[in-house]
């Protein structure tokens, strides 16, 4: 008796589970349920983007579909965490065959996600309409490259960006430095730092280092410096080991953090990057290397996480100089690094066609114009839109006209994120007191393990 009752309970529970599984599948009735996920959340990280999706994209898209006679419901799945954590969450979602229908990823994850089968060529997931999307003709070749892996398009590019040196004009004035500062060599950065220091600025220079800041250390730190010293992390399949450019880049870290021009502790703290934003906004940091995200999303007086009311008057920006004029990559005087986000359709989506329509809708001219109005301007992937919206935006025009022509991109290969971590560890070691040559040698040893032996390292 007892056994039978127990069996009934188990069976009932099983049915219940099965029933749950079915109802969450979404396909019931003729309502199509779509989800869209970004690392953005109302009241937190990328709040403007989150608000735009919730308040404009979703109602407009649902209305447009309704006009076509389709009942589509869209839900926004927010996140507000570090990019590394977002990536972990996303990979676990995709690995288990779940995740939102339309997802945002960092361009640099495309390679490893594609290799793992987490994302698939749009033509396979969606069909020919992905290749014939009318927006492609408006997107520059280099930006399309961000979404391309082994010759196939895996996503639509959401935009691109560039890195510059930001500086606080008030602090500069106090230190007797010009408001239109443009250093022409690393030594001039250090000289400015010394002057700032003697005028009482607590943190004269902040160039991201260490592992706690993750990819921000690579993109806003060691990679632009490496490019400024004439090096590239990878070129024609060969990786840069403990060569002179890396030693030079690590040497600059030593001069800044060993010489009291930067705050080594800030590079170690779990929330160090957020703190560096806060300190810049509070006027405690003189010079900061960051991307245009800093201008748009951090010190933005309206929607930034560390808003500066006087941003337009008080925050200056300059190109990142090579170690000495003409010594950067391709013999350049100035350098930068660029990346960009991608947006794609989850291969697990039950409604890939509708998901692609939603995806394309978010990158239509009218959506991009709506998204970028009221002080939320960013560099969109579309030249037709950029022409209109960048007018009257000094920093973004600066980046699109002066920085993008001389920028460099990270190698679009699956192993790059591991190499990036090894680079971050090298900077952490130097900030912690290790000699640059030693840190470079340790890096090369790790690199050999990651890229499959010394044969893949440029000699």
């Amino acid at each position: 008796m007892a056994m039978r009752k127990f069996a009934v309970v188990i069976a009932a529970a099983g049915l219940g589970l099965a029933a749950c599984g079915q109802s969450s599948g979404g396909g019931s009735g003729d309502t199509i349920e779509l989800t869209i996920a970004q690392n953005a959340i109302a009241g937190g990280k990328n709040a403007a983007a989150a608000g735009f999706v919730a308040d404009w994209v979703i109602p407009k898209f649902e209305a447009a579909q309704k006009a076509k006679g389709k009942d589509v419901k869209v839900k926004f799945v927010p996140s507000g965490v570090d990019d590394e954590q977002y990536k972990t969450k996303l990979s676990l979602d995709l690995k288990s065959g779940k995740g939102a229908d339309v997802i945002d990823i960092d361009g640099i994850w495309a390679g490893e996600f594609a290799q793992a089968g987490y994302i698939k060529p749009l033509a396979d997931v969606v069909g020919p309409e992905a290749e014939s999307w009318d927006g492609w003709s408006q997107i520059p070749e280099s930006v399309q490259g961000l979404a391309t892996y082994e010759g196939k398009k895996y996503a639509l590019p959401v935009g691109t960006d560039g890195r510059v040196l930001y500086f606080n004009k008030t602090l500069f004035q106090k230190a007797g430095l010009p408001a239109d500062w443009q250093p022409k060599s690393w030594q001039e950065i250090l000289d400015a730092g010394t002057k700032l220091k003697s005028s009482g600025v607590p943190v004269p220079i902040q160039i991201n280092a260490g592992t706690a800041m993750g990819e921000a250390t690579s993109m806003q730190g060691v990679l632009p410096l490496l490019a400024g010293a004439g090096g590239q992390v990878e070129q024609d399949g060969k990786w840069t080991g403990a060569a002179q450019p890396l030693k030079d880049a690590l040497g600059l870290y030593q001069k800044i953090y060993g010489g009291g021009l930067g705050d080594p502790k800030l590079q170690q703290e779990a929330k160090g990057r957020d703190k560096s934003f806060q300190q810049f906004a509070e006027g405690k940091i003189g010079i900061l290397m960051e991307g245009d995200y800093f201008w748009r999303g951090v010190v933005n007086p309206a929607t930034g996480v560390a808003p500066m009311k006087d941003r337009d008057q008080n925050v200056g920006y300059a190109l990142i100089p090579a170690i000495e004029p003409g010594k950067g990559i391709r013999g350049q005087d100035f350098v930068s690094m660029s990346g960009g986000a991608l947006r794609t359709v989850n291969p697990n989506s039950k409604h890939p066609k509708e998901a692609f329509e939603l995806l394309a809708f978010t990158l239509s001219p009218e959506a991009l114009k709506e998204e970028t109005k009221d002080g939320n301007v960013r560099i969109t992937p579309r030249t037709d839109v950029n022409k209109e919206i960048l007018a009257g935006q000094p920093l973004l025009t600066f980046i699109s006209e002066k920085v993008l022509p001389l920028t460099a991109y990270r190698p679009p290969v699956a192993v790059y994120p591991q190499v990036s971590v090894a680079l971050q560890e090298a900077t952490a070691a130097v900030v912690g007191g290790t000699a640059p040559d030693q840190a470079a040698a340790d890096y090369q040893k790790k690199l050999e393990g990651i890229v499959g032996g010394a044969g893949n390292i440029a000699s």
Binding site: Q115, A270, A414
Partner: protein
């Protein structure tokens, strides 16, 4: 009654399961029905404990990754991950830090503090006892995320409460003394369990024994050593076993220091999270997990042997 429900002492070799004149089948169910009764429990254990453990063991033998080509088609790599772990100084560093963490926060911190509170409060009644116990238990039952947020606010170097109280702004507790910080944090957090367990255990010490000891002129320490400890030895060992294992596998230090700075508070639980999920090396992470499982077994066997040697 007590004898009827206690387990049989020996059943070796005797197919009937009977020996010494009393039945091992106390409930009178018979083998089949008894088996049917435990089957659901065994199935659950197999599905949620044994299978995952074996699966981790298997994953540890592959180069499985969270992303990239090895995520789609993992290769069998034999014992490479285990050899890598044993040769990896980061792993040994984490093991050593975990040992400090367990010894400092569980074996010394929680046990000593928990026992002291229980001992001091043993004969007290009234609001003071309720207040102290309430505060200690509160630290234990609050969610980790909430508690760690409060501690980050307490220890922050720029706007932290502790620095404001001590008048030393800029002192970086979590960066300059990461291990000390998480040890004190975990002592504070977990003392409630030891306090309650010892509180209950001290109730079992016959007051007459303590009275006789006092009459014989035993000092406070002598009473503790010769009367109280022998009575609660089993409780102490059980408590040590539980909190050592809990602390060994505790992940909440991550919420305070994220394993940093530069791995100086990267205990094994955090180490596994970092290599497996942040760096995506699931195979290597599984291998390290297996090693952790073995260490846990060794710790458990050590305590259980001590516990048994009482008899």
């Amino acid at each position: 009654m007590a004898q009827a429900i206690s387990p049989p002492e020996v059943i070796d070799g005797d197919p009937s399961g009977r020996r010494g004149g009393y039945s091992s089948d106390a409930a009178g169910l018979g083998r089949l029905r008894a088996g049917a009764f435990v089957a659901p429990a065994l199935l659950l254990i197999a599905a949620f404990l044994v299978f995952p453990a074996l699966w981790v063991l298997y994953l540890g033998l592959t180069n499985y990754r969270l992303t990239g080509a090895a995520a789609a088609e993992p290769q069998f790599v034999g014992l490479d991950n285990f050899l890598d772990a044993v040769a990896n100084p980061t792993f040994w560093n984490s093991t050593w830090l975990t040992l400090q963490f367990v010894l400092g926060s569980a074996v010394i911190g929680q046990v000593v503090l928990g026992f002291t509170i229980a001992w001091v409060l043993r004969d007290r009644r009234g609001p003071l006892k309720r207040l102290v116990e309430g505060l200690v238990i509160l630290a234990w039952i609050l969610p980790s995320a909430v508690v760690s947020f409060l501690w980050v606010a307490l220890l922050d170097r720029d706007g932290g409460t502790l620095n404001a109280l001590l008048g030393i702004p800029g002192f970086a507790w979590l960066l300059d003394h990461p291990m000390l910080s998480i040890i004190i944090f975990n002592t504070w957090r977990g003392t409630a369990f030891s306090m309650m367990l010892y509180g209950a255990a001290l109730g079992n010490v016959p007051p007459s024994h303590l009275e006789s000891a006092r009459l014989a002129g035993a000092s406070g320490w002598q009473q503790l050593r010769d009367v109280v400890f022998p009575h609660i030895r089993g409780h102490i060992l059980t408590n040590l076993l539980l909190i050592s294992l809990w602390t060994f596998n505790d992940f909440s230090p991550f919420l305070l220091t994220a394993g940093g700075p530069d791995g100086r508070s990267e205990v094994l639980a955090v180490h596994v999270y970092k290599v497996a999920l942040q760096s995506g090396e699931l195979g290597y992470g599984a291998a390290v997990s297996t090693i952790i499982l073995l260490i846990n077994l060794v710790v458990a066997v050590f305590y259980l042997r001590l516990l048994r040697s009482k008899k």
